[in-house]
Symmetry: C2
Subunit: 115 residues, 2 copies
């Protein structure tokens, strides 16, 4: 196992949770405090803080150091690795969707012949 | 939580493992039996079978039905959803990398002034 495998596994694991993805989506609009991030969720502050910590460990968010006001900020750069990994398969899935399209068109033209 | 959130979480969780990603990479080259997939890993057949089952549940691979020879086949189509989700953030991470480039260039030109 290479070390980049580890960080990719950690990233995918962090993204495998709808609350954590929603936190990233919120932060894409601008920085927010933990309280602000907790608002839309029916979840305790400690639970939200745990999600934030998981995201922090991947480098996807960072938290300010000012004592009273420590906003969270999105850093989407680690997602470039996710995109790179996924893109390797684009040709394969596009070919599969194209074959589906061809097959549907074949079925449609046969259907017309019967009419 | 919407149902598409669930399938995305399941996909990300399935990808959060280097062995499962290696299985997908192997299958991108062509179909393979469970024995063939197990070969490069120091892992028992039941352990490999469990990974295959996780990937099957996401729709990323399917297993043939012929009794003796049941090859696994890659179906990369679910990865389109992963790519779509990730692409929302491309502008954000590219802007961040651009700012890093600008900053490095600034530092370099300051460095030259000192020389």
């Amino acid at each position: 196992m290479r070390s980049d495998d580890d960080s990719l596994s950690q990233l995918f694991a962090a993204l495998a949770n709808p609350t954590r993805r929603a936190i990233l989506e919120r932060l894409a609009e601008g920085e927010a405090t933990v309280n602000e991030l907790a608002e839309p969720f029916d979840m305790s502050l400690p639970a939200i803080s745990r999600h934030i910590r998981v995201l922090e460990e991947t480098g996807l968010i960072s938290q300010g150091q000012r004592a009273q006001y420590r906003p969270c900020t999105l850093d989407a750069r680690p997602l470039r690795e996710v995109a790179k990994w996924t893109e390797q398969y684009r040709e394969i899935w596009e070919a599969r969707f194209d074959r589906m399209d061809d097959y549907i068109r074949q079925l449609e033209s046969k259907e017309k012949e019967h009419e």
